[in-house]
Structure formats: structure tokens, C-alpha cells
């Protein structure tokens, strides 16, 4: 019986080609028609340190990292020592006997694969050992090898025919190592119904999907400063946005990045910056400035472990409170959290629409595990995307830039318009933008700015945002946010398969909260588990501050190791309560 869902981990020294092996394997799997979900853990150093990439492959769509590995390819001893015990039942460890000794009494099946020796024999260079590893995995999983061969040719053709030939030789050498080993027969994958090459099926990381969503959302100015794990957004935009008529600037720091975005937006261009926690801290004065001067802007925070430099390459949902509150004084802003790869695309589009319509900073939260994971998805329906714009001033009408309206949204002019000159200022101001410090004006204008949040909150409830799954009469519910959605779905599916009833809500707009919707979700439940990848339970605090629980017990469920939840863990943690 062939497998329909299998998870492979490839681990070794950073710089040994671990990640590129996994990337080619991923692409080969996708080209053969499989669905994939990848996750990577890599050291903060450029070379050295343990790198690991995990590839889950399935004949049907997968939305989470899965459980532990069914197959481990260990390039060296450290890879073995760290990962070999974390296997699913029936798992098989492949290892290079030159660099790895398996201890006595090791309980999982183990198969030596002479990566180094084969690479030396076939090519005379140890560098090709990752291609040998790729071949043994392709062979073991029984993915048709021509996909991987095509990818090798594509990857190396720029370096010349000799390099292509050498790597193909290493690949064939790797394939021939297997010789129908019985222990590997259990790892063969079922063939997907059809190959999906050229059908609009794409493999994207969260950072890539988010960048494309920004382009689709009309973003035409990006300024950023390199910071792990958000740098890929700046790199992607640098490579692609100018072809759409946009401009991208690598700023001297995050303060300059956001400042220049505000300048660009003031001049009428949709602008975005992408950063991580430390950069968000540096930007926080300008977030308040954007809020006060009512300039639309999108700020992406791909969260990592803090505080300080923390663990820059590890994941954490630690910036929620900072995103909602961080700045001088009280400054309204919208906070969104993308829940998956495809959602990164859609929330980025939405972030721009909300920023423009409400003339407000929008912080879009992602995290390392979401930014760096890759998944298969269909190309979204691009024709269905509608862009919303900021309210334009009426022609020749007496123009009050900060007019106190029912919605809180005021008309805004763009420099170059002949009759609507105004000053955007961080000073408290009246409806016309003139600096004014009277108590009455202060109260009125603060209320006007916050009224935009009320308007949005009402819309969210009316439009059914935060659609939830009531678990068909469940008395226990899970509230998660951001990147954990797919894992929670998978865990709940498994619990339901065992007869448990669990409700689930994953709100995407975290500020303002759609309070009535959340209260409706909570009302029938005895207990709500708030599941977060942080130590202090920030969403739980936020919910406690705004939502009436009326006797429903709220339980914080936290993981703050730097790694994302697995479905197994969630099954265990939630299973205790149902």
C-alpha cells in the first residue's frame, strides 16, 4: 500500500546544500502533481550551524507542517543527533556513514547512504553529495525521476554543460544506490491523479505571496531595511516592483523606511514597508505620525523571537500588543494577521484597501514560520480584485482636509491638485489642518480619528468577518491567530475523526476586533483555549480587555520555543479539554 502523505526532513551543516536539495525535491514533487507544505529551520549564521528543511508531500492539499518526519536524511552527526529521535512511528533514517555513527539500540529503521563516497566516485567532488541525497529521496519516495532531472538541468545550465552532466551523473549514481532495499519499500508515495504542471498551480512562500498581494493591492512604493525574516519581501519587491512602474528603496534604517513611505503616500502612491519586531520598534514614532496625520500606509511585520536580537531565525507571535499599541499617545491603527500562504496574498490586498479607505496605518502581521514556509496553491482569481481609494475632495468645494464626518473618514487631496492645499501635521490640528491645542478640539479630533475604527468594526461584523466553525454543538473552542490556522484545522479534523467536538475561530482583523462576532462564538462554549506561539498570551489579554466572556472559561495555551505548533501537539493540548 503506497503512502498518500509523507514528511521528509533533510538536515545537515548550513552551506552543504541541504536547503537546495529540499527545494528541488519540493519542486519535483509539485511537478509530479503532489501538494506540498514546507518548513525550514536554519541557523542565524551564513555558514555553519545546523540547517533543516522539512517537506510534507501529499496526494491532497495540506495546510500544516504535519507531525514529525517519516524520513530523515541526515548529512552529518549533528543532524542525526538533533532529529533522529523525532520521527513518526515506522519512520526511516537515511544517513551518510562517512559523517554519522548510529548509536547502539537506536529504535528506528536506519539505512546508510554513502553520500560522500558516491559523490566522490561519480564526480570527484564532495559538493555533489546533496544531489546524491536528492536522488535517493526521489527514488525512495518513487517520484518519477525525470522531474528532478529536468530541474537539475534548469538549475545548472547557466554554469555550463559540464556542470549539468556532472550533477546528472551524481543523480544517477544516487538512484542506483537503492537496489530495492526492503526497508525503503514502505515509503513509496501514491501517484497523484494527474500531473499539474502548467495548470496555474504555484509554490509560494508566505513572504512571496504577501509581496504579490501587495502588488495586486496597488503598492507602488516600497522602502525597507534588511531584517530577518522579512528581508525577502524587500528583495522580492526590488526584483519585481519596478516592472510594474513602482519604486523601491533600501533605506538607511527602519525609521527612514517608514518616513519615506509616508512621504510617498502623502504624494498619492500606495506605499509599504516590511520589517520584523526590532524594526517595528524603530518605526513606532512614525506609526503615531501616520495615525495623527492620517496617511495611509502598510507596515508588514514578519515576527521573530524577541526581545533584543532574540532568535532572529525562529518564529514567535510576540508583537501583537506592540502592533496594536506601540507609539506615542493613543494612535488608532488597523492590525491584520495573515493565516496562511494564500491568505498572505489576500490580506496584503486588503491591507492596502483598508489603509487607503480609512487613511490609517495598517500593520499586517506574519511570522517566520509563515514567511518561510512554502505551499502549493492555485493562482488566485486576479480579475476579482477591486482596489478602493482614499476619499477625494469635491471640486472647488471649501475643503477641510480633516473634516469631522460620521464615519471619521475625511476627504484628502494629493499634492498637485490646484485648489486643496493643506498641511499634514503631527501636531494636533483642527478640521482644516491648522495647529490647535484647545481642549474641545483635542477631544473632537481624537474621537474623529477613533471613529474610523468604530466604522471598520461595524463593517467587519456586518460582513461576517471572522467566520467561525461552531463545532456543531461543541462546548470547547479554540481561538488562534495568524500562522497557526492550518495546524489547528488539521488537529481539529483528527479530534473530530475520534468523535470529539471542537469549535474554532481564527480572527484575521485583530484591531479593531469584531467583538459581537467573537461573543457569539464564545456564548455556547464552556471553555475557550487561546492558542498562541508566545509566552504571555497576548491575544488572550486583548480578548479579555474587549470581549465579554460571561462565565466561559478562558485558557491560555502557549508555545514559545521558537518553533511552530505541530498538529500532534495541538491534538494533545486540545484533546485534554474535550
Amino acid at each position: 500500500m503506497r503512502r498518500t502523505d509523507i514528511t521528509v526532513r533533510i538536515a545537515g551543516e548550513g552551506g552543504e546544500g541541504v536547503i537546495s536539495t529540499a527545494e528541488i525535491l519540493t519542486r519535483a514533487a509539485v511537478d509530479s502533481g503532489l501538494d506540498i507544505f514546507t518548513f525550514r529551520s536554519y541557523p542565524a549564521e551564513i555558514k555553519g550551524g545546523l540547517a533543516m528543511m522539512q517537506v510534507r508531500m501529499s496526494t491532497s492539499p495540506v495546510g500544516s507542517i504535519g507531525r514529525d518526519a517519516d524520513v530523515l536524511m541526515a548529512f552529518n552527526q549533528e543532524a542525526f543527533d538533533v532529529w533522529a529521535e523525532r520521527m513518526n512511528p515506522g519512520g526511516v533514517v537515511l544517513f551518510d556513514p562517512k559523517h554519522c555513527v548510529v548509536p547502539e539500540g537506536f529504535s528506528f529503521a536506519k539505512v546508510p547512504i554513502p553520500l560522500h563516497e558516491t559523490a566522490m566516485k561519480e564526480t570527484g567532488a564532495r559538493l555533489a553529495k546533496n544531489i546524491v541525497a536528492l536522488a535517493t529521496l526521489v527514488g525512495t519516495l518513487d517520484i518519477p525521476p525525470h522531474h528532478a532531472r529536468d530541474l537539475i538541468v534548469k538549475q545548472f545550465k547557466r554554469k555550463g554543460d559540464d556542470v549539468v552532466a556532472t550533477n546528472l551523473k551524481a543523480f544517477d549514481g544516487g538512484l542506483s544506490l537503492l537496489n530495492g532495499d526492503e526497508r525503503l519499500a514502505v515509503l513509496k508515495l501514491a501517484r497523484p491523479a494527474a500531473e499539474k504542471k502548467g495548470t496555474g498551480r504555484v509554490v509560494l512562500s508566505g513572504n512571496q505571496a504577501l509581496s504579490m498581494g501587495a502588488i495586486a493591492g496597488g503598492c507602488r512604493y516600497v522602502a525597507g531595511y534588511p531584517i530577518t525574516p522579512a528581508t525577502q519581501v524587500l528583495e522580492f519587491m526590488m526584483k519585481h516592483l519596478p516592472a510594474f512602474g513602482g519604486n523601491v528603496i533600501q533605506a538607511e534604517d527602519e525609521i527612514a523606511a517608514l518616513s519615506s513611505c509616508l512621504g510617498a503616500s502623502f504624494a498619492g502612491t500606495r506605499a509599504m514597508t516590511a520589517t520584523s519586531g526590532p524594526g517595528l520598534c524603530l518605526m513606532s514614532e512614525m506609526i503615531g505620525m501616520a495615525s495623527m496625520s492620517e496617511i495611509p500606509v502598510v507596515i508588514v511585520d514578519v515576527m521573530r523571537c524577541g526581545p533584543g536580537t532574540g532568535m532572529p531565525t525562529k518564529t514567535e507571535q510576540g508583537d501583537l500588543m506592540y502592533a496594536i499599541h506601540g507609539s506615542a499617545g493613543e494612535s488608532p491603527r488597523i492590525v491584520l494577521a495573515a493565516t496562511g500562504i494564500e491568505d498572505c496574498f489576500h490580506q496584503a490586498v486588503r491591507a492596502f484597501n483598508l489603509a487607503e479607505r480609512f487613511q490609517i496605518p495598517v500593520i499586517l502581521l506574519s511570522d517566520q514560520s509563515l514567511g518561510y514556509r512554502t505551499m502549493t496553491m492555485d493562482t488566485p482569481d486576479l480579475s476579482g480584485i477591486q482596489l478602493e481609494s482614499r476619499m477625494a475632495p469635491a471640486e472647488f468645494k471649501d475643503f477641510a482636509r480633516f473634516e469631522d464626518t460620521d464615519s471619521g473618514v475625511s476627504p484628502v487631496a494629493i499634492p498637485g491638485m490646484p485648489h486643496h492645499m493643506f498641511v499634514a501635521t503631527g501636531l494636533e490640528h483642527d478640521e482644516h489642518g491648522s495647529a490647535t491645542y484647545t481642549p474641545e478640539n483635542r477631544v473632537r479630533m481624537t474621537a474623529k480619528r477613533y471613529r474610523k475604527m468604530d466604522t471598520l468594526a461595524r463593517e467587519l461584523v456586518a460582513s461576517g468577518d471572522g467566520v467561525y466553525d461552531d463545532g456543531a454543538g461543541a462546548t470547547v473552542g479554540v481561538i488562534g491567530w495568524g500562522s497557526t490556522e492550518g495546524t489547528i484545522h488539521e488537529a481539529i479534523d483528527r479530534l473530530r475523526a475520534d468523535g470529539a467536538r471542537v469549535a474554532h475561530l481564527q480572527p484575521k482583523v485583530l484591531n479593531p476586533l469584531p467583538v459581537p462576532t467573537i461573543e457569539r462564538f464564545i456564548a455556547p462554549l464552556k471553555r475557550v483555549l487561546v492558542l498562541e506561539e508566545n509566552y504571555t498570551g497576548q491575544l488572550a489579554q486583548h480578548l479579555r480587555a474587549h470581549v465579554a466572556f460571561n462565565g466561559t472559561e478562558i485558557v491560555n495555551v502557549n508555545k514559545s520555543t521558537g518553533l511552530p505548533f505541530t498538529a500532534d501537539e495541538v491534538v494533545g493540548l486540545v484533546g485534554n479539554h474535550v
Binding site: A243, N247, P415, M421
Partner: protein
């Protein structure tokens, strides 16, 4: 714009009254600025003034045009965003010595490298005036202030050699009492294609009793007639002169591409190599 509707200096001044003290050097700079705008007949709808925080940061509130009065030290990067988004705007940055050389000092070298076609007026009174009299980075050695009760122990930062060594492509200096000269310098700065900085020494009669109008008048000297502003070497020598405080255009390098030209080039190169529609972009993955 034809002769019949020519705008005068006063037409560039809106009806907001400056909040500056009587005798403030900033009045001279404001008068010179509106004169310069009138001389160039810039269309107010295309003027965008970005200013920081400080007495001079209020400048943007007083001019007819669009303005962004931003956070302390952040006027320069804000203006870069404005110019990148709309190169047709006449973008000015106005701020003081604290705004430009202290809290925002890190932005100047990077603006110089990018070379946006904008004009930065640094209105230098060598004191923090809006916070009522603390030493600034250009305050003289020994100055007593509320934060230096026993006298300032650090030497002042020297703006012109700094701007020249950063590679600013147009560097000039003026004195706020010489309105005519300042107006001319502003015009020359605007005419320069690239990042132009005009350092305007503008005494604060309220909080700075050292760098006074009289002190400046004794030291100001016109730029020597034979100065060649295309010579960086000559510009440095004049800027480093401690005895005489030269005013005029120190340096001008019109051969550098502007930020806007570089961004346009980036667009052309990218359009040649990368997909220009989202459909095509998705197809790459």
C-alpha cells in the same frame, strides 16, 4: 505662467502668522524663500515643503502649497518618498540644526548618496529654541545653557565640511540678515539638478547670546570672486577657514544622476527582464 498673473513674494505666504519671537532670524529666511519662489514663479500646487520639529520646523505652515510637518529628524527621508512618488513636485525640506544635524543627522549622507532633486534649507541658530534654550550640535564650545550649566565641553559640529565630505552635490551657505543673498542661493539650489543643501545661519535673539547678529556680521564675508564651485578641494579650503565666514555657493556637481533618474533606470531595466503583469509573475512560480 504669463506676466498678467505673475505671483509676488507675498502671494506665496499664506494667512497663518509665524509663531517666532520678534527679531528671530527665521523671518529673514521666510522672506527670502517667498522672494525666491516668486522669482522662479513656481506654481503653489506643485510646491511640497517637508519640515521637521523645532522653531524652523513650523516654516511649512506659513507657505502657500502642500506641506508635511513630520516628526523630529525625519523630514529628509519623508521628502525622499514624496519626490520618488512624484518627481514633478518642487520638494523642499526645512529644518533646524538639531533636527538636521542631531536627531536626523544619520539621514544626510544617505540622501547625499541618492541625490534626489530636492532642496534642503538647514536653518541654524546653534540652539534648541522650541524647548527653550539647550545646546545643539552647532553650539559653540563653552556655551552656557540649561543643559550645560558649566559651559559646553564638546566642540561644535562643522556643517559645511561635513556636507562636502558626504558628497552633497550642491552646498551653499547664507546668513538670514542678507535676505537678497539667501533668496539668490535658494534659486540656485532649486536650479541645481540634485540634492542641494543651503546652510542658513539664523541667529536666535532669545536663547543664544553668543551667536548673535552682531557676532555674525563681524565675521561674514562674501565668497571670493575667483572661487570655482566645481572644485571640491577649493570648497573644502573655504569651508575650513576659521577666520572668515564665507557665504555663497561652495560646491556644485551637476554631473551626478539624480535619485529620480536612477529609479527610472531601475524601472526600465526591470521591465526588460521581469514580468510586467501579475499573471506572468505567478507563472514564474
Amino acid at each position: 505662467m504669463n506676466e498678467a498673473v505673475a505671483l509676488k513674494a507675498k502671494d506665496y505666504k499664506n494667512d497663518v502668522e509665524p509663531i517666532w519671537c520678534a527679531g528671530c532670524g527665521d523671518y529673514g529666511d521666510l522672506a527670502a524663500f517667498t522672494q525666491a519662489l516668486a522669482s522662479m514663479q513656481l506654481d503653489p500646487k506643485d510646491i511640497c515643503i517637508v519640515s521637521g520639529i523645532g522653531c524652523s520646523g513650523r516654516f511649512s505652515h506659513f507657505i502657500k502649497g502642500y506641506a508635511y510637518h513630520t516628526a523630529h529628524g525625519r523630514a529628509l527621508p519623508t521628502a525622499i518618498g514624496v519626490k520618488a512618488a512624484n518627481p514633478n513636485l518642487h520638494v523642499f525640506v526645512v529644518g533646524g540644526d538639531g533636527d538636521g544635524f542631531s536627531i536626523g543627522g544619520g539621514h544626510i549622507p544617505h540622501a547625499a548618496r541618492r541625490n534626489p532633486d530636492i532642496t534642503y534649507l538647514v536653518i541654524d541658530n546653534a540652539i534648541y529654541g522650541l524647548t527653550k534654550g539647550q545646546v545643539s550640535p552647532t553650539s559653540p564650545f563653552g556655551m552656557v545653557s540649561s543643559t550645560t550649566p558649566f559651559g559646553l565641553e564638546d566642540p561644535p559640529l562643522d556643517p559645511l565640511p561635513m556636507l562636502l565630505s558626504y558628497g552633497v552635490s550642491f552646498v551653499a551657505r547664507g546668513f538670514s540678515s542678507d535676505v537678497k543673498q539667501v533668496a539668490k542661493l535658494v534659486q540656485e539650489a532649486v536650479a541645481h539638478k540634485g540634492f542641494s543643501v543651503v546652510h542658513l545661519v539664523s541667529p536666535c535673539p532669545t536663547f543664544n547670546q553668543v551667536i548673535t547678529f552682531d557676532f555674525m556680521k563681524e565675521r561674514v564675508a562674501p565668497m571670493p570672486d575667483d572661487h570655482d564651485p566645481t572644485s571640491l578641494d577649493a570648497a573644502f579650503r573655504l569651508a575650513l577657514n576659521r577666520d572668515r565666514f564665507f557665504t555663497g555657493v561652495f560646491y556644485r556637481n551637476a554631473s551626478l544622476p539624480t535619485m529620480e533618474q536612477k529609479l527610472a533606470q531601475q524601472q526600465r531595466l526591470t521591465m526588460d527582464r521581469q514580468p510586467r503583469s501579475l499573471e506572468q509573475l505567478f507563472a514564474m512560480f
